[in-house]
């Protein structure tokens, strides 16, 4: 290799002839920048542990999700126990261990958050890419539909949908029972794709004018290849960031629904963060503070961590911010 450099026939005026020892891909550079973002890195680690914890719920929880701490007897009530060794975070109105229920609840919440964010993003990316790439009347139609969905009051739609579901039986195989987890996810996907669609459309509009896309077309690439190889990889950063924030907003959305009692009523009496927060509505006044504090703190922490990760991703994937930190 060094012979190359001494060979006079090889041009050495180019500054880049001396090869860097190691090639850095855009992904690896992004990871490097992400790791430098303290809050994001810590959040990722803590959240990762949390996910591991809730995935292994049967091992990590001390009691079953509906299991009472110990047998009720008149002299030893197990309702509303304050935090203690047999129930680290106390018990609820029928004697169930809050710590175990938080683990199971977080499991459902994170699942709902991830699933609705991923499917919503896929839907949004598809619609946005079609709108941006095809343009013309299709773009107009798709973007007006997007506006329409943005203008819809989410909660009202939810209530109407729940009440008419029983009479529209063919809907059920698609969206699931109004009490199921699937119903909540379908709902969030249905009302969560618009931001991503707009984002993707603007990305496509900007990218398709870039010269490398034109060069790819000039050298014979078809539309599918252009979307998959050129447009998607170059908009992966913003899309990933949007996906992350969509996870946290879905988790909060589920909590909102659960608080009002419209959340999923999972089989086997399983629970979710929203249900736990909602179930604590009347608990503060009589002094059962743990029922309020722990679910709320967990909800806040989880959404905060997810948002920190989103921030870190944004900084890591936006090359324009490079060096600003």
């Amino acid at each position: 290799m060094d012979a190359d450099r001494n060979d006079p026939s090889v041009d050495t005026t180019d500054a880049s002839v001396g090869l860097a020892s190691q090639s850095l891909s855009p992904t690896r550079m992004a990871i490097r920048r992400f790791v430098k973002h303290r809050a994001a890195l810590v959040s990722l680690i803590v959240l990762g542990l949390m996910v591991l914890f809730v995935v292994l719920a049967p091992l990590t929880a001390r009691y079953g999700v509906n299991e009472a701490v110990f047998k009720t007897s008149p002299e030893n009530p197990n309702q509303f126990l304050s935090p203690r060794s047999i129930a680290w975070l106390g018990t609820d109105d029928i004697g169930r261990d809050l710590y175990s229920r938080l683990i199971y609840g977080l499991r459902i919440s994170i699942f709902i958050g991830l699933a609705s964010a991923i499917f919503g993003t896929i839907l949004g990316v598809t619609i946005g890419a079609i709108a941006g790439l095809r343009g013309g009347w299709l773009d107009d139609v798709l973007m007006r539909v997007t506006d329409l969905f943005l203008a819809f009051p989410f909660l009202v739609t939810l209530l109407v949908l729940r009440s008419v579901m029983s009479s529209v039986s063919w809907l059920e195989p698609i969206v699931g029972k109004p009490t199921s987890i699937r119903f909540v996810i379908v709902l969030f996907v249905l009302f969560g794709w618009m931001g991503v669609a707009r984002l993707m459309r603007s990305q496509v509009l900007a990218l398709k004018e870039r010269e490398f896309v034109e060069a790819a077309r000039a050298l014979g690439a078809g539309p599918v290849r252009i979307v998959l190889r050129h447009l998607l990889p170059n908009s992966a950063g913003p899309i990933l960031v949007a996906l992350t924030f969509s996870v946290s907003s879905s988790i909060i959305g589920e909590a909102t629904l659960g608080f009002f009692g419209y959340g999923p009523q999972p089989g086997a009496g399983s629970t979710s963060l929203g249900k736990l927060v909602g179930g604590a509505k009347g608990a503060l006044l009589p002094g059962y503070w743990w029922l309020v504090v722990f679910p709320c703190v967990l909800l806040v922490l989880v959404t905060l961590f997810v948002n920190f990760i989103g921030d870190g991703l944004r900084d890591a994937t936006d090359p324009k911010l490079d060096g600003a930190r």
Binding site: D14, L219, R225, R229, P233
Partner: protein, 326 residues
């Protein structure tokens, strides 16, 4: 220099409809490019030189109206289906763009981008395509091509990226290579290297090359023939040496006079500015800036006709030929 005609345009027109009227960017261009020759296309910004070739490649916005005929060895490109166009682009007609900094996808390795180009047109294994890609990188003078193929565009300098673009363009051995200002974004020493590579590749592959530029020096260096364009029409065409020695059309004369030369202390610019292509002057579009214009220039549009061994589109070409340049 008399290979068969590969690329042929007849009465080629490009019009952009706008809210304020039609912009006639290209107004009837005839040209032939033969295998094994380099045709230089010169003209100022807005003369239609780039639009002509982007138009025949089908790379203009959908709103652009393209008329006339453009054939590559008999295949008509004007009005061709998108399937045919995809087949033609890259495989039969390839293009090199002005700005190599933005013409490569920043998210893929150089080697993979060339591989993709090859596999878009040929059914070969990734491995075979990669060894071809490395061979191509070597051909365009990139040292350590095997290592370089694994790198990303940001790890390449401007000149190196333009070499990669050339490698991509020649990957499928196109019959026509269109270089749209390939050296404009590069500094002078790198320019010379790129031109050298272009010339070498061309003589090896016997492709027909169209070199679009506004740099008369570049044309003089590498082109066999040169054509000047003004206001969407060809104004003069001929052998490089002959045309530089005896420019016949007043516009070409003006272009050459506005070049800095040793021994002349003042540049002579062409007075005025390019015409509004929404409403170009009647007859010869250059007449409003031409020092030799006569009445006939406003009445009839001059057509390209042989003057000596070159061609010029000027009514007074016979008298003006040989007018000494100070």
């Amino acid at each position: 220099m008399s290979g068969e005609v590969v690329l042929s345009l007849r009465d080629f027109r490009v019009t952009f409809p706008t809210l304020f009227g039609d912009v006639q960017a290209v107004r009837g261009v005839d040209l032939d490019v033969r295998a094994g020759e380099i045709l230089g296309v010169v003209g100022e910004s807005g003369s239609g030189k780039s639009v002509t070739f982007l138009g025949l490649m089908g790379l203009l916005p959908k709103s652009a109206r393209i008329e006339g005929s453009a054939t590559v060895r008999g295949t008509e490109l004007v009005g061709a289906s998108s399937k045919i166009m995809r087949e033609v682009r890259g495989k039969r007609v390839a293009m090199i763009f002005q700005d190599p900094l933005s013409a490569l996808n920043p998210t893929h390795r150089i080697g993979n981008q060339i591989v993709e180009m090859i596999r878009a047109h040929h059914k070969v294994s990734t491995k075979a395509a990669m060894s071809r890609a490395i061979e191509l990188l070597g051909q365009v003078g990139i040292p350590q091509p095997t290592d370089r193929a694994r790198q990303y565009p940001h790890e390449f300098s401007g000149g190196m990226r333009q070499r990669v673009m050339i490698a991509m363009a020649i990957a499928n051995e196109p019959e026509v290579l269109i270089a749209d200002e390939p050296t404009t974004a590069l500094d002078v020493t790198v320019q010379a290297q790129i031109l050298e590579i272009l010339q070498r590749i061309q003589s090896e592959s016997q492709a027909a090359v169209v070199l679009i530029t506004h740099d008369l020096g570049v044309v003089a260096r590498v082109a066999d023939r040169v054509q000047g364009m003004y206001a969407g029409r060809v104004v003069e065409r001929g052998n490089v040496d002959a045309l530089y020695a005896h420019p016949t059309h007043p516009y070409t004369q003006g272009l050459l006079q506005s070049l800095p030369t040793v021994g002349r202390d003042r540049l002579q610019p062409i007075p005025g500015s390019p015409p509004n292509m929404m409403d170009p002057p009647s007859g010869c579009a250059f007449r409003v800036r031409c020092p030799h214009a006569v009445e006939r220039c406003a009445e009839e549009m001059p057509v390209l006709r042989p003057i000596g061994d070159q061609e010029a589109a000027c009514w007074r070409a016979d008298e003006l030929r040989g007018v000494s340049l100070r």
